[in-house]
């Protein structure tokens, strides 16, 4: 089981990752990151 579990987990997360790309999450991450995060700087 301990040998199979990491591979199963990898497959599960790979499918999440691909779904994220399919749903346009990459664009959302890019849009969020290209706006200057004021919280990170300490403006709020």
């Amino acid at each position: 089981m301990k040998k199979v579990l990491p591979i199963l987990l990898l497959c599960l997360f790979l499918s999440f990752f691909l779904l994220g790309i399919r749903f346009g999450d990459v664009t959302e991450v890019l849009l969020n990151a290209t706006l200057l995060c004021l919280h990170c700087i300490g403006i709020g």
Binding site: K2, K3, L5, P6, I7, L9, L10, L12, F13, L14, S15, F16, F17, L18, L19, G20, I21, F23, D25, V26, T27, E28, V29, L30, N32, A33, T34, L36, C37, L38, H39, C40, I41, G42, I43, G44
Partner: protein
């Protein structure tokens, strides 16, 4: 070797050197990708996104972060906390500052669960409920990489700073002091990214193993461990940052990285054999013989 990789971990996600020429902020397509380390994307030099900042953003807009869960899961299930020990710029800073001579304290074990509270509350629940980036507002790495440089070099930003910036600076100052007196205090008590990766340490493809009968518990690996654990007893512990200092320091090669239980990275070169253990009976015999 690890110091070199840590230096790359500082340089590569912060490679926007045009920031020095007055173009204040990178807005290119590389920011669609997250670095698997805590590196602030509001840093003027940053070319990649912060996974924790992005995660909070998805929760604020109430969208399930498939891409980020997938990305963090792939990294975690592959290597566990290896990126904490080898790549994270904030981890490298903590290790460097710990070398400053001062009194040293050990972080109590129960406090190490605080990072899970930080993950659940500051990154998960509070952004989801209130629509605010709670962890980003408190993150000392953001203060160090983004807040301080932008406050110093941009008069527009400086004009906007208020109480939150003072709070952020206080948290940063507190942690900088803690970096000097204890081993990786931010990683062990506050870092939500480390908390996520640590959950995979027992199940990841890459892990460490203690070779049967080789370790003689000489404890040479205990002092150099930046996570303050006993490596030969807690080899795949969630507190381990997988720096592999124990692997490097062990004179017998008793602790070895291993991929999926059947692919070992045995180090070449001669090894001292393990000290022969004396059975209890013969110890008694020896004691009698000396009297």
């Amino acid at each position: 070797m690890r110091r070199l990789v840590q230096a790359l971990g500082v340089i590569l996600p912060n490679a926007y050197y045009k920031a020095f020429t007055g173009v204040i902020f990178y807005q290119g397509s590389l920011k669609a990708f997250c670095a698997p380390v805590l590196n602030c994307y509001a840093c003027p030099l940053a070319v990649s996104s912060c996974p924790i900042g992005s995660l909070q953003h998805f929760l604020v807009i109430r969208s399930f972060p498939f891409y980020l869960v997938g990305f963090l899961g792939i990294v975690g299930a592959s290597v566990g906390t290896l990126t904490c020990g080898w790549l994270c710029p904030f981890g490298a800073l903590q290790e460097m500052m710990y070398k400053v001579r001062s009194f040293k304290v050990k972080i109590p074990r129960p406090l190490r669960y605080l990072r899970y509270a930080s993950l659940v509350l500051l990154v998960g629940l509070l952004p989801l409920i209130t629509g605010e980036h709670w962890f980003s507002q408190l993150c000392p790495q953001g203060g160090l990489e983004a807040g301080v440089p932008l406050a110093l070099f941009s008069s527009q930003i400086r004009a906007l700073l208020g109480n939150l910036f003072i709070l952020k600076l206080s948290i940063l100052g507190g942690f900088l002091f803690l970096f000097i007196i204890s081993k990786r205090p931010f990683c062990l008590t506050f870092c939500p990214l480390g908390a996520i990766f640590s959950l995979f340490n027992r199940f990841s493809l890459l892990h460490l193993r203690v070779r049967d009968g080789v370790c003689d518990e000489c404890e040479l690996c205990v002092d150099p461990c930046p996570a303050g654990i006993v490596p030969y007893r807690e080899v795949d512990s969630k507190d381990c940052v997988r720096c592999w200092e124990c692997v490097r320091r062990c004179p017998r090669g008793a602790i070895q990285p291993q991929m999926l239980k059947f692919w070992n990275f045995e180090r070449s070169g001669s090894r001292e054999p393990a000290r022969p253990t004396i059975p209890l009976e013969s110890k008694g015999d020896q004691a009698e013989g000396t009297q």
